[in-house]
């Protein structure tokens, strides 16, 4: 009986309890079949439809830390400089260091001071996040207007300005995820698997230690 029970637990919408007992006593085999069929059947009929794989690809342009989803294309800091000057400098400063808004460059060694400057260079843990954020949100009012090449180039420009890569380093789907960000280990908890358990982390009163 043990395997049947185990199977039941992973069955998303198990049959009602009473039915389970009856079946358990007399027909464990049928129960297995019922569960398998159940997994393919939604509870509410004809609510929503199945999206096509293509639709999902078009809707989901998020880039994870391993960069699996990065599209083809490439760019260097050199390619990125003129785009940055045209599209970003007015808010983030000519070199990325002066603002007036969110400074994107600099801040090395300031995190323990009373004036911490958290930038892509001094703080961000993953190079892929730079790509994802520029691609999804920048510049305001013209989001999602860049080609993949342009996003690679802008990302390369910010990494270069922060002294993380060289001016001629080519950023693409292979190289970008490999870029080692200086503050990668600057976060608590260090292991991503430990994040969800607030108790274990010692969080109290709405604060984590």
């Amino acid at each position: 009986m043990a395997p049947v029970t185990a199977r039941l637990k992973s069955c998303p919408e198990g049959p009602p309890k009473r039915l389970t007992i009856v079946l358990n006593l007399f027909m464990p085999v049928i129960l297995l079949a019922a569960c398998a069929a159940r997994a393919q059947m939604p509870t509410y009929s004809n609510v929503g439809r199945t999206p096509t794989a293509e639709e999902i690809r078009a809707w989901d342009f998020a880039i994870g830390v391993d960069g699996k989803e990065l599209p083809p294309g490439k760019g260097t800091a050199k390619d990125g400089a003129p785009i940055y000057a045209r599209k970003c400098a007015r808010c983030h400063g000519a070199t990325g260091e002066e603002g007036p808004l969110m400074r994107l460059v600099g801040g090395k060694g300031t995190l323990t001071s009373m004036t911490p400057l958290r930038t892509v260079g001094s703080y961000w843990a993953f190079a892929t996040t730079v790509w994802d954020y520029i691609n999804r949100a920048m510049p305001p009012d013209e989001e999602r207007s860049f080609t993949a090449d342009e996003v690679y180039a802008l990302t390369a420009f910010l990494l270069y300005r922060n002294g993380i890569i060289a001016e001629s380093d080519v950023m693409d789907a292979k190289t970008l995820p490999k870029v080692q960000m200086p503050n990668r280990n600057g976060f608590i908890p260090q292991r991503i698997e430990e994040i969800p358990d607030a108790r274990k982390r010692g969080c109290r009163l709405g604060h984590c230690p």
Binding site: T112, P196, A198
Partner: protein, 428 residues
């Protein structure tokens, strides 16, 4: 400013429908359509859509924007618009006064007929749903507060100023009755696969805001909401659908919800790894701090108000906690020397604003009024000194560090001066 803008948008929509008419003619034309009962857009008639008395002027306030530099100063609004808690009545915030924080990105004008919610990733049956289809599913209504991570941030000079009002010190929290489908229903419908441990939610706003949330929370009490206080969501609140993640930093309650992906790890987006983490003294970032702690504040009398003279006043305020229901609120009218239980006025809901009251007769002398709450888990709202101990900093750190001090929930002191005026006394 905001209501003006959305009013204009509504007006423009009306004009598109009546293309060809002169602008002056449009209003009366759409009013006629209303009177005949065919459509409700744009009417100024309070019998058709009610308005408050002209004597009532309570309003959100927002700082002028820092989001778009221009030759004559910033031109883009901040949208950090705060709820006037000093005028709050009961526990529900009227939707038009609910705080707004959009990081400089403007509210998007979403047509609910075009809007879709995609559920995909580690599920057996990816789903694409219309808003109408969502409304066919069994729904629930729940009273919950939403609070910005930065509410009460003591590093802001405005928040510490003696002249600060409770709107300026605590106005980035609001409370509504939200109506929608429990996310768990939708996820079960899609069939959660083994190995899924995170959900990544994404909105259709300008920056396609995305946020990673542990799946256990998603299966617990998260809602996909379309209703707020008996009405469809307001546009600034994410019309037509948004996530409500009870008790957690507002940033998790993704507005204009368009996509939920189940995954075996979080997406490390900008909101995960940038300014939403707070720094420790050793330079490490505390990322993924979800729950807002127990917090309370006296809303009357509060900063900027003035008692006309000695005599009786009911002290009233709000308490809330991301950890559950409020069990107890205590008030001190002598600067913390003695504490007495306040009355919980009810209704008391988990992760919701809870109204408290306390009878008080002012003798005309200078004093300090305080409140502190305890939630159902027994967590007691901390003093600023207790918070400093927990953060392993000194009390001055909170006002001198140049970063957002998130989740700041220290007890709020209001000083009553002899002339009856009330001042913020966080650091005095």
């Amino acid at each position: 400013m905001n209501s003006k803008q959305s009013g204009r948008r509504r007006f423009l929509k009306g004009s598109a429908a009546l293309a060809g008419l002169a602008v002056g003619g449009i209003r009366s034309a759409s009013a006629q359509a209303l009177d005949s009962g065919t459509s409700g857009t744009g009417s100024q008639d309070p019998h058709v859509y009610g308005q408050r008395s002209r004597f009532e002027t309570s309003a959100r306030v927002g700082a002028l924007g820092v989001y778009e530099p221009g030759p004559n100063g910033p031109t883009r609004r901040d949208l950090g618009f705060r709820t006037p808690l000093q005028d709050s009545i009961g526990i529900i915030t009227p939707a038009p006064l609910h705080f707004i924080l959009s990081h400089g990105f403007e509210t998007v004008d979403v047509d609910p007929r075009q809007h879709r919610l995609l559920i995909h990733g580690l599920v057996d049956r990816p789903l694409m749903l219309t808003v109408e289809e969502l409304k066919r599913l069994p729904s629930v209504s729940r009273i919950h507060f939403l609070e910005c991570n930065a509410n009460g941030d003591p590093a802001r000079a405005v928040r510490r100023a003696p002249s600060a009002t409770v709107q300026q010190t605590h106005g980035l929290t609001s409370c509504s009755i939200w109506t929608g489908v429990p996310l768990a229903v939708l996820l079960r419908e899609a069939g959660v696969q083994k190995g899924a441990s995170w959900l990544i939610a994404e909105g259709a706003e300008q920056d396609f805001h995305t946020k990673s949330i542990p799946l256990a929370k998603g299966m617990d009490d998260v809602l996909v909401a379309w209703g707020q206080n008996g009405e469809p969501l307001r546009p600034e609140q994410g019309y037509p659908i948004r996530l409500i993640v009870p008790g957690w930093e507002g940033i998790n309650s993704v507005k204009f919800l368009r996509r939920i992906k189940l995954a075996d790890q979080p997406t490390m987006g900008m909101r995960e790894i940038s300014k939403y983490s707070s720094l420790r003294l050793d330079g490490k970032g505390r990322w993924f701090q979800f729950e807002m702690g127990p917090k309370s504040v006296i809303t009357r009398p509060s900063g900027g108000q003035r008692l006309p003279g000695r005599g009786f006043y009911e002290i009233t305020g709000l308490a809330w906690s991301g950890g559950g229901a409020i069990r107890r609120v205590e008030v001190s009218t002598d600067g913390g020397l003695t504490w007495k239980d306040a009355q919980l006025d009810g209704p008391v809901h988990p992760k919701a604003h809870t109204r408290f009251g306390f009878p008080w007769t002012w003798n005309g002398e200078e004093t300090v009024l305080l409140s502190r709450c305890t939630d159902e888990r027994g967590e007691v709202q901390p003093t600023i000194a207790e918070l400093a101990t927990f953060w392993r900093v000194n009390v001055d750190y909170f006002r001198s560090v140049a970063m957002i001090v998130g989740h700041f929930n220290a007890i709020q002191p209001w000083k009553v001066i002899r002339d009856g005026s009330v001042e913020n006394a966080l650091y005095s």
